[in-house]
Each structure stands twice: as C-alpha cells, then as structure tokens.
Symmetry: C3
Subunit: 357 residues, 3 copies
C-alpha cells in the first residue's frame, strides 16, 4: 500500500459518534459512541478498528466474511452482516463512505513552482527538477520536463521532453518515459517503456450520487507498475479508489487503452489498442486481449484467456477460454453464430424485404 | 454566442451579388443584387439579413420554419422553402456555405511568442504568461504552462505544468486544469476538473466534399463548459461549427471520451470512459452513458436515459428509456435477444456445423 | 524508405554462420557458412542478399514468390519455399527475426539536452531549437516546443506550444502542428494540420513471444504523411515495423483514432473519430470510415468503400462496397438483419420470457 506516499491523514481516528454525525447515519443497536475508528478500507481487507461500506447487494458475500469492525449499510442488507460488525444504517452508504474518506485523508500538497518555493527547483539543462528529487546515474531528462518533490528516478532512465512527473512518484531503472507523459500517484518498476502522452495516476471515475448531485469520491490508491511493462501512446491508467491499480510484470499495453481504477492485470498479459477495462476488474496472467475490446467492471478474466478483437466481455471468464463477440461467448460458437446471422441477413433480403421495412 | 471572443469578421456584410459569385450559385427568381447579407447562421436561428444552407433533405422541416432571409439550396429542395427566403441554387450547398463562412470570418491571430512580441510575455516562476492575461487571486500556474493573450483565470484555479491555454479563453474559479491540457476556443465555469491531456476547442471534423477534395469548413463556434464539470484524461471536445458545443453544469466525463462539434450535453449527465458522441447530437439531463458507447450524430437522447456499456445508439431515444446493444434497443429486450442468440450459437454448433462452414 | 533518417546499421553484413548462431537456427541443406547477409526485409521486397521470415502459414503465398536469398522458417512450411531461398529452420521465426533486426540496426542516439550538448541548443523566444535544425521562413514556434537535431521545417509552418519534434523529422510547408504534439520518426508533407496531442512515430505494438516472455521487436520503419492531411486530437500513428506506415495525400483523420504499424491509407480517405485500424491493413482511396469502427489487421479495404459507424471489419472488402455491423456485412443486409433481430427481441419477450431466464 503506497497510500502514504501521496496522501496524509487529517486525523488519527474518528469516534463512532463523529462518523454518525458526518454521515447522518444511525446505529443498528447500542454501542459505545466513543469507539475509535482509525481508517476506511474495503470489506475484504478492513480490520476491527476500520470502517467499510456495502454499496450494493452483489457484494453481500464479501460482507458476510468481512472482519470490518464497522460498516455503512442500507437497512435492507443489515441482516446479512457478520456478527462482529457494528452497522451504521444509511440510505446512501457510498456517499457516506465518500464523506468519511474525505474526513480521514487529504492529498499531500502539490508544491508546484511559485514565488514561495521557486528556490526549491533548479533548472538543469532546461528541465525543472525539485531539489528533493533523487535522480540516479546516467539519467537523461528532456527539456521542459518537470520532476516534482521527492520523486525518485532509477539509474539509466530517460525522461522525455515536456514530461511531467508529479510529486512523490517512483520510477525504476532503465525506463524510457517518453515525451509529454503525465505521471502522478505511481510507483513504476525497472525496464518499463511509457510512450508519449500516457497519463498515469489521475483519479478514477468515482462519484456518489446524492440528491441530484454527483459527489466526487477521494481516490486514495496509487498505480503500481511492475518491471518490463510497456504502455502505448495516449493510454490512461487511473489510480485506485481504496486499494491500488496494479499492472504486473511484463504486461504490454498498446495505444489509447483505458485502464480504470482498481483494475489488476496479471503478469505477461497483452492488451491491443483502443481496449477499455472498467473499474475493479481482474485480468489474469498471460491473457491476450485483442484491439478495441471492452471489458466490464467488477469481473474476473482467468489466466490464459484469449479475447478476439472488438469483443465486449460482460461476465467472468474461466481460465484458458477463447472468446469473441459482444456480449462475448465461446469463440467457435461466435464464429458460427456470425455465419448463421450472415445467412439470415441474406435470406431475409430475399424473402421478406417488403414486409419488414 | 462567444464567437466574438475567438473570431473576427473580415467584412461587415456581403452583397447578394458577391455571395452568388463566391459560391457560383444562381437565384431562383429576380431579386435586388445589392441586398446586404450580414452573417451566416443555422436554419433555426438565421434572421432576415442572414444566410443559411440546406445540406440534406432530412433538414427540410427546419427549412420550412426558417426565418432565414437567404438560403443556399439544391434545386430539388427549392419547393420546400418558406415564402420569405431568397434561394441561391447550388449543386453543393455545404461547400458553398464553407466558402461564405470563410469569406465572413477569420480566426483572430494567435500571437505566439516571437521576436516581435517577446516582450508581451513574462516568465513567471517558469510559466509563460501574456501581459494581457487576467489572473485571479491564489492562482497556481505550473512550470512550462502557457497562458495566452487576454486569457482570464478565476481565483483559486490551478493550471498544471506544461498546460497550454490559448488566447482569449476564460476559465472560472477554483478549477483544476491538469498537466498537459490544451485548451482553446473555450469558456469554462467554476469548480471544474480537467484531467491531464484533455484537448478542448480544436476545430470539429467538418469537410465539404467537392470535386474529389475534402474542403475544410471554418468552425466558428466555441466550447462552453458549465460549473462543476469533470473531464477525464485525454478526452477531446471539439468546438462548434456555427453554434457552440455545450457541456452543462455537473456533467462528469471519463477518460478518452470524444465529444464532437455541436454536441449539447444536459446537466448532471455522466459519460463513462471511451465513449464517443458524434456531431450535433443532443444528450438530455441526468443521462447515464456506460463505457465505450458510440452515439450517432444528429440524434436526441432524452432526459434520464440509461445506456448500457458498449452500446451503439443510432436513433433518437425517448426520456427515461433504458437501452443496450448495437444498434441499441430496449435493455430488457436486448438481454433476452442475447440469451436467444447465445442459445442459437450453441444449437448451431450441434445441428449444422458441417453444412455452414 | 526513410530508414536511414532514423536508424543506423551496426554492421555492414552478418555471415550466414553468425545468423545461425544468433538465432539458434539450423540449415535445411548444405551451404557456404561465409555467405554474407546484408539486410532484413519483407518477403515481398527482400532480394538475394537479404533475409526475411515466415511468421505464419497465411503468408505462404508471399513466400512462394519471394526473391529473398534467406528465410527464417518453421520446418513444417519448408516445402513451400521457392527454390532459390536458403532456409534457416527455427521453431520461432518471428523471434529469430527480432534478434537479427536488433543485430543489424540501432536507433540513432536521441541527443536530448544534457551537460555535454547544452550548447548545441539555443533558446529562441522560449522554444528550444537544435543548432542543426533547418527552419524555413515565416515559421512560428511556440514556447516550450523542442525542435530536435537535424529536424527540417518548411516555410510558413506553425509549431504549437510545448510540441516535441524529435531528431531527424521532416515537416513540410504551411503546416499547423498544434500544441502538445509528439512527432518522431516521421516525414510530413505540406499543408498538413496535426491537432493537439497527436502522437506520431512511436514504435508499433510488435512482440515476439518466446518462452513466456514478450520480446520487443525493433520497429525500423517510419511514418510517411502526404500533403493536405489532417489528423485529429490525441490520435496515434505508429511507425512501421520493416517498411513504413503511410498516410496518403488528402487523408482526413478525426480525434482519438489509432493507426497501427504498417497501415497504408490511400488518398482522400476520411476516418471519423475513435476508429482503430490494426497493423498492416491497407485502406484504399476515398474510403469513408464512420466513427468508432474497428478494422482488423492484415486485410485490404478497396477504394471507395463506405463503412457505417461502429462497425467491425474482419475481412477484405471489395472496392465500392457499403458495409456495416460487427462483423461487417453488406449495409442493406445489415439493416435488415437489425430489423429482424429487433423483431426477434420483441417476440421473444412475449412468447418465451419464462423459459429462457
């Protein structure tokens, strides 16, 4: 968890009483209002002194095995919670979570260059480098690039012209970070190639709808990128909401690919251009994803799966399956379905063209 | 209409004679060739001393109620025009419009930094700021950012490193304009978040095909963005052709989304990543558009519509409908159709695999 | 072939013995191990003293007519090779090719700005320009832009703020290269408009999978762009693998379009936003490609073809066809198929809703 790199806690803890007030929740039973809540977390990972939330009935399995000490929840799901969890009943637990997350955390100040801190930066061969940045040996940094506060860059890495590496990021050895990349909230391994215009670490697309307004949810995760990863031009990788977005070792991603928050991609997986992976989906190892595929959020794609180009994957896929189509089905079935539909299109033209139009 | 921010008229008016000559059109009747034409406009908004055009038979309804004093039109549609409109008969009215628009307007000179005007710019903590720019209080501007001529930036707004805000743009209060954004021809409200690499205000994809050449049509509109709007990394919003592209208050747009020229998006609408909205389409209020949706041009999507991810919307959609598929149909019907097709794919595999391939 | 602009040969030639050792191949017969191999090339273009490779059985036609003196090939295809070609038998010819390409060529050093060469660059009105660059008359270059070593820019061209034009690129006359573009390995004609954030010339998505690792294949081609081309914001054009990626005169490409390596696009073709063209596909002249289309790799689209928006094209398309759907079929058939499927969706709802779910 690299949260401490990029965020700081505003308070050590909140009392149960404070959380009830901030979120306008009520208790499902009698409990000591002075109980201390030290952090927010997911249902899977929350511990006894942390608070989580149930956003939808589809996560009731995670709830039933959760070790969370506290949980924001709608009344209708209250019966499904484990015995040890104190329930905070709320009509909109996701929005309540957003409020609590914001109460616990704030993003560390981005220093920027300003009158007050101009002397913190040096201009080095036309690049702008914060004095606190740790730059390895044989590093080349292009003109106009910005290297922010406490950034670490490994030996032999190249940073292209006008790239922007925001505060506290870590980049490994022998990487090529091309021109005009924007990297924030990210820990990047060795030997990675990040092509021009890649955007890594912006906050994910997370809103809690409440009373006609979409409230932004503070995105507290990072982007963790393993060794030997390549990411194509203009692709985007959002940082995680609570935990991290993870791109494992040896993953190769083509141009204009969207990786949403909390996605986890296993080792050696290859993703061709213009594909999009929605939030919280897990992609296995050595998966092959064709161009322009769309993969829904909150699903699991098993190891070794192959997905034909332009497919839309809406459900979990077992390991080693070959699939295609939208919604994606078994590849061979999809090919035959296409043949059948093509035949139907021709037949229809002859037989019933007058009656349909 | 913010056209005057970004364009200037080359002539106060053109005479009917001049327009006939420039466009190689002929009149449908006898009229005073010295009549003055003061501007171009859409069929809906043109007034008595303005000229419009009919590009396709599908707009003949707009033509029939138009108050335009003059209209470029193909001969075959001449009978459908209102009585008060003087018709200029032309084989290619769209190209003729392109010629007239270019005759009336030119983009204001982009000053840039050059030998002649270097002193117009100051370097302020490594950002480049035009002396005429109006910068609010507590504004932070990143290194390498360019703030162009007569740009206005509201109090508390942050402009990221290497962002480019071109001449005459207006950005409201408390906005976050992230690194490496390019903003031109745009008026942006308060409290907006524009993520890294967003491109706003480039001219729309408008060409008039004539004699084997695609002629560029000058794009005279702007991009108008309301308060509380968020736009995801690497998304693109083109400016309007004649009127403006409009993103209303509270709209949230994810990464890698394409908004073409003249699109109007209503309040509170949410658009997930990798979706594309083609030109001149109107999206209602509080619409929810899933990821990787493609929405055709020149259609209307009603308020409160929900569109499943990876859908392709080809037609108008009534308010509050839930739709899915490509072409999109009623969501429930689409789900059942998918089940039916999946069954057909399996059946086919057993029964007729030999005969089809 | 503009390879010499951007790459340099590391050796004049390799002997057959060296190639066998580097690639761990064996000969299919007895030949002089001192034979000299001077270059790598495609099957179509390789000559007597060059080496090519057969990556898949689908290219056996190209093999049968190849003039290549040497060919890396799997044993199972050995019988299909022409008489004059010396075969190097290898289990993974694509990976073997990758090894040989890397042995022959290296990318010319990107100079960058550094302590050693800072004096090679001048800061000219806030742009950074290499002393060896050849800049035409009346050229405007925005602040923060980088013009690399031996770049040539024609008269009247505008380079936007923070654009990055890497070493050895050539840009014609009267072009507009907008802000925040990254251009490398490219030769661009006259009167082109490159919108903000376009990425041209990054290496294509080419990997040779061997023993569980995806090995990068050096991409030795360039991007060749004709006159009067327009490329929309944030679009990406990869350079070729062996030969060039070619965008012919008058092509108009909208925003967020992906053009993969080796694609060849004919004169006057128009591609709407968010479309993707996979590697090695050839698009004819005056083709019209709607928005959000996905076109598979290694296929041919004939002249004058029209493709409806959101289509997926999986196969060759004969000239002048109008197609739609995914997989794309005849447009009229597709429309009727859609009507039939929509009817089926409704019917199904009434008749068999209980039995299916």
């Amino acid at each position: 968890m690299s949260r401490n790199n990029f965020f700081e806690k505003k308070v050590e803890f909140l009392t149960l009483k404070q959380v009830l007030e901030i979120t306008d929740s009520r208790l499902n039973g009698e409990f000591d209002l002075n109980l201390k809540i030290f952090d927010i977390n997911t249902l899977q990972n929350a511990s006894q002194n942390q608070i989580s939330f149930l956003n939808s009935g589809r996560y009731s399995v995670q709830l039933s095995t959760s070790k969370a000490g506290f949980c924001l929840i709608e009344e209708k799901y209250a019966t499904k919670s484990p015995a040890g969890t104190i329930l905070l009943i709320n009509k909109n637990p996701y929005y309540a979570y957003a409020q609590i997350a914001q109460s616990f955390y704030k993003q560390k100040d981005t220093e920027f260059v300003s009158d007050k801190n101009r002397l913190n930066y040096q201009e080095n061969n036309l690049a702008i480098i914060h004095n606190s940045a740790v730059i390895g040996k044989e590093v080349k940094i292009g003109s106009g690039a910005l290297i922010g506060k406490e950034v670490k860059i490994g030996d032999g890495t190249i940073i292209g012209p006008n790239a922007v590496i925001m505060d506290n990021c870590v980049i490994g050895k022998n990487c090529i970070i091309n021109a005009l990349t924007a990297i924030s909230f990210a820990i990047i391994g060795d030997n990675c190639i990040i092509h021009s215009g890649v955007k890594i670490g912006q906050d994910g697309f997370g809103f809690a709808h409440n009373m006609g307004v979409n409230h932004k949810i503070i995105q507290l995760g990072s982007v963790i990128i393993g060794n030997d990863v390549e990411i194509g031009a203009s692709s985007c990788i959002d940082r995680g909401a609570i935990e991290d977005t993870v791109i494992s070792q040896g993953v190769k991603i083509d141009n204009l690919v969207q990786i949403a928050h909390n996605v986890i991609i296993g080792q050696g997986t290859v993703i061709a251009g213009c594909s999009a992976i929605a939030g919280s989906t897990r992609i296995g190892k050595f998966v092959q994803i064709g161009g322009a595929c769309n993969i829904a959020g909150h699903i699991n794609i098993g190891d070794g799966v192959k997905i034909a180009g332009a497919s839309g994957v809406m459900r979990d896929v077992a390991p080693m399956q070959i699939i295609g189509g939208c919604p994606a089905i078994d590849f061979r079935q999809w090919q035959r379905l296409n043949a059948k539909l093509a035949a139907m299109a021709k037949l229809h033209l002859k037989a019933s063209s007058d009656t349909v139009n």
